[in-house]
């Protein structure tokens, strides 16, 4: 069907998108790589000099890097755990017939559409504030001492906020997968005397495995780059207790003006993200052939 003419037309139609993305990706990345090998601070213009791998050595041996890497892993892992378990339970719940199901579904997915700065500030002030927040009020109702969430449990608090934002995403995808499950298969298992728990483990869970993989991989891509939630709640603190890699690089670049160091950090972040990306690309690539 594709003649030579349509094929060259097709190439022409693709060119702008491919070219734009190529430039967008390769030029800044090459610049980052180059800067990462320089001693380059914006406060000392004109003093740039070759530094070799010095920036990398500084970045990787900085205790803040170890802390940030651990925080990144804890944040990503924590949010994944909450959204996968919570999302599965919510999907199972929303799959049951009940009155007002459609409305509850809208309520559950709503947090996904709230911009990160709004959700972070609403949680920080109106829910987690140690004196006037709703959580403090609930604690006092039960005669407990209110917790100053963001100062005493900063990383946990940020994890809660981000998990609240991503729970709808996991729920929606798992629900979509759940609804494609063959009803007759469930009924057959039921007639064979399988209880709800064994039906869940042997039929539902394997069916959800693919959707869960997709949730894990896509959330990981976005969660590695969590930024706004940290910026407006804790500023990475106290100390580096809630600093992740993204925030660390930002702080180095735009607060300390250390272009070289921040670029080295950026490259490290790219490598970390690539490890995840390889898995995701394979999974989606397989699907493209199917």
């Amino acid at each position: 069907m594709a003649t030579l003419q349509t094929r060259s037309a097709a190439r022409l139609m693709m060119t702008p998108a491919v070219l734009m993305l190529f430039v967008w990706m390769i030029v800044p990345l090459a610049m980052t790589l180059y800067f990462s090998l320089l001693r380059y601070n914006l406060l000392m213009p004109g003093m740039e000099e070759w530094a070799g791998t010095l920036n990398y050595r500084y970045f990787l041996t900085d205790p803040a890097f170890g802390a940030a890497l651990l925080n990144t892993l804890l944040l990503v892992g924590g949010v994944l755990l909450i959204t996968l378990v919570g999302g599965t339970l919510l999907a199972l719940l929303l799959d049951q017939p009940f009155f007002g199901q459609g409305i509850v579904r809208l309520l559950v997915i709503a947090p996904f559409f709230v911009m990160p700065t709004v959700s972070a500030l609403v949680w920080k002030n109106m829910l987690m504030h140690p004196v006037y927040g709703i959580f403090a009020w609930i604690a006092r109702l039960f005669g407990l001492q209110p917790v100053d969430w963001l100062s005493s449990l900063p990383l946990f608090s940020v994890t809660m906020i981000v998990a609240w934002q991503w729970l709808p995403f996991a729920t929606l995808i798992l629900l979509t997968a759940l609804q494609s499950l063959d009803e007759e298969q469930k009924e057959a298992a039921e007639m064979d005397g399988a209880g709800p728990v064994s039906r869940f483990i042997h039929i539902v869970l394997p069916h959800l495995a693919r959707a869960m993989t997709v949730v894990v991989l896509i959330e990981t891509i976005f969660l590695l780059s969590v930024f706004a939630e940290i910026l407006v709640t804790t500023n990475g603190g106290p100390g580096t207790e809630s600093t992740n890699i993204t925030y660390l690089v930002y702080a180095q670049a735009l607060l300390q003006f250390d272009v070289g160091g921040a670029s080295a950090g950026g490259i490290v972040a790219v490598i970390l993200a690539n490890i995840v990306a390889i898995f995701l690309i394979r999974l989606i690539g397989k699907n493209l052939e199917a």
Partner: protein
């Protein structure tokens, strides 16, 4: 073969469902309620849930003190602008890849996807410096460019999965009937492609509206969209919860409504077609 569902079971799930829905939605509900309070009421303890003097005062103050409308227009220009430019570039590309695929089509799609996985901090420094040198920092144009680029892979992918579903036979049939290329595009393809394009448009406006890495880092007073404007409430100068809530409610309401309409496309768009 629908099983009979006992009313009791249904009522139980109704109670659980609504309770869970209420808890998850509560932060948003609370924001909306607080936006109608005075600053004093907003921090009242124990909190006043419904019985307070409802007032629009905070909404007036948000507009008069900080020119809310300007930031909203920034959000509108940036999210719509980047989405339209993205579509303009992506429609031909997705079209070509869906209808005249070559051996390399799959590789190109995969490569486009991989650019989406580049963490923004990997290119933050050079983009910031280039924007500074070119005078694009804190301009709407700069943000439109950045958001177009970061959402372009998603736009191409979404369109591709929609276009793929248009049966190629219809095109051939219309060609047999002697339709010219222009006619083919206007009368045959466009009507079938419009729903997919509309869904893509919707999802991308949502993503661009809520983007909060580049908008926070590349804008200051004049081009700040709502994400960055709301972030300015994080300063510990005092408790302005009613005003924060009013600004937040205005910022999230339109997108929440768009989002509710696009929930089906959301799954498809954000999983790059891996889950439909």
């Amino acid at each position: 073969m629908a099983r009979a569902i006992s009313t009791r079971r249904k009522l139980t799930f109704t109670a659980i469902g609504w309770l869970v829905g209420f808890v998850i939605f509560f932060p948003i509900l609370w924001t909306v309620l607080t936006s109608f309070k005075t600053e004093g009421e907003a921090i009242a303890s124990p909190p006043h849930f419904l019985f307070f003097d409802w007032t629009l005062q905070s909404y007036y103050e948000v507009q008069s003190r900080s020119n809310y409308f300007k930031h909203m227009m920034n959000s509108v220009v940036i999210s719509f602008g980047s989405t339209f430019i993205g579509l303009l570039v992506a429609i031909p590309a997705a079209w070509a890849m869906a209808f005249s695929p070559t051996k390399r089509t799959k590789d190109i799609m995969m490569w486009m996807l991989s650019t989406k996985m580049l963490p923004p901090v990997g290119v933050l420094v050079p983009i910031y410096l280039l924007f500074r040198d070119w005078g694009l920092l804190d301009t709407r144009l700069g943000l439109v460019i950045v958001l177009t680029m970061i959402n372009l892979p998603i736009i191409v992918w979404m369109l591709y999965t929609y276009f793929k579903e248009i049966p190629g036979e219809i095109l051939e049939a219309s060609r047999m009937d002697g339709a010219s290329l222009a006619k083919e595009i206007v009368y045959v393809l466009t009507p079938m492609a419009v729903p997919g394009i509309a869904s893509t448009l919707l999802l991308n406006i949502i993503l661009a509206w809520n983007e909060a890495f580049w908008t926070l880092n590349l804008s200051a007073a004049s081009a700040a969209p709502l994400t960055a404007f709301i972030a300015s409430y994080s300063s510990p100068e005092g408790l302005f919860w009613a005003k924060l809530s009013a600004a937040s409610t205005l910022a999230i309401a339109p997108i929440l409504i768009l989002g509710w309409f696009s929930q089906r496309q959301l799954v498809r768009g954000l999983t790059f077609g891996a889950v439909k």
